[in-house]
Symmetry: C2
Subunit: 186 residues, 2 copies
């Protein structure tokens, strides 16, 4: 088994265990046990649990960065806001399990807060969704849309709602909040 | 100074310090210092920091319980949902500082989670705001409204927005999400 392969399997095992029994409740030893490798093998790839968490989140954060860049490249408020909104819903629904983990695991919040550009990643979408970035009401609406979508995608009360219903409802609700029309067919 | 008086002043000092320097960063000794009393005097009223937090939150939780009961007593979905929505916005805006504290202080989340009926207090409003409690899309909309309102009321990005603008925008946005008309004048 290649080292790259082990790393990938490690991350999958970690994500599974974090979701199952929380970040705080998962040790490097448990991850090793699940993969049937030694703790030293885990340690070869990651020195701390925080490093594993960052690696688990990294793909989603990369998608978020790419989405923001794509939305910022659109022309006009409506195109920018609609790209940001629909992309944000798709991203949050695809990573429902991660958000559930982040929202319900205080240890994760701590680890994330100390992370580099996460605060910026959360602030820029709000700018893209506010029709007038200086208007308080527009900023409040952008905040309601983003927080409402992210929290609902990761809500323990909605785990029985299927992805497609969740996605369609969140996009429609977001457009309602922001006063965006449905995007015309191209 | 009466004992009741000390308790009230203790809670005010604790709330101030929690908001200023986080729950985790506030010790019983700091609270005593701020009031100019001994730690023993604090200890006479509260044995742990968790007990103080519960006492700080209790008035807001009581208001929430009363609001839910009032909303449930209304006749028909629209009246119930509108009472729940407007009351929830008023409550969250009035307690912005507490929500900011809850949202940004992982220690508080831990302390709260172990608390009695808090989960129930968060689930019942969602039922009141869903036109059809069994319809997934209606449940998602109720979740977006509640999470969006609570998170925005306590958002660090919106601390410069005045209470009245915040309140009016949140009520209007909530009605938009839930498809409620403005309440007719009586």
């Amino acid at each position: 088994m290649t080292s790259e392969n082990t790393r990938t399997r490690l991350l999958a095992a970690a994500r599974h265990l974090f979701a199952l029994q929380s970040f705080a409740g998962t040790s490097l030893q448990m991850i090793a046990d699940r993969l049937g490798v030694t703790k030293a093998a885990v340690y070869h790839h990651f020195k701390t649990r925080d490093e594993i968490l960052e690696a688990v989140l990294e793909p989603a954060l990369d998608e978020m960065r790419a989405l923001i860049a794509d939305a910022e490249a659109q022309r006009g408020f409506t195109a920018r806001a609609d790209r940001m909104l629909t992309g944000f819903v798709e991203l949050t629904v695809r990573h429902r399990d991660l958000i559930l983990l982040l929202a319900n695991d205080p240890g994760v919040g701590n680890a994330l807060r100390s992370s580099e550009d996460v605060a910026d990643l959360l602030a820029r979408p709000a700018d893209l969704l506010a029709r007038d970035r200086l208007d308080p009401a527009d900023r409040v609406r952008a905040s309601v849309a983003l927080a409402g979508i992210a929290t609902s995608a990761g809500s323990v009360l909605l785990t029985d709602v299927d992805d497609e219903t969740l996605r369609a409802t969140l996009i429609d609700t977001g457009r309602r909040i922001l006063g965006l029309r449905r995007r015309p067919a191209h």
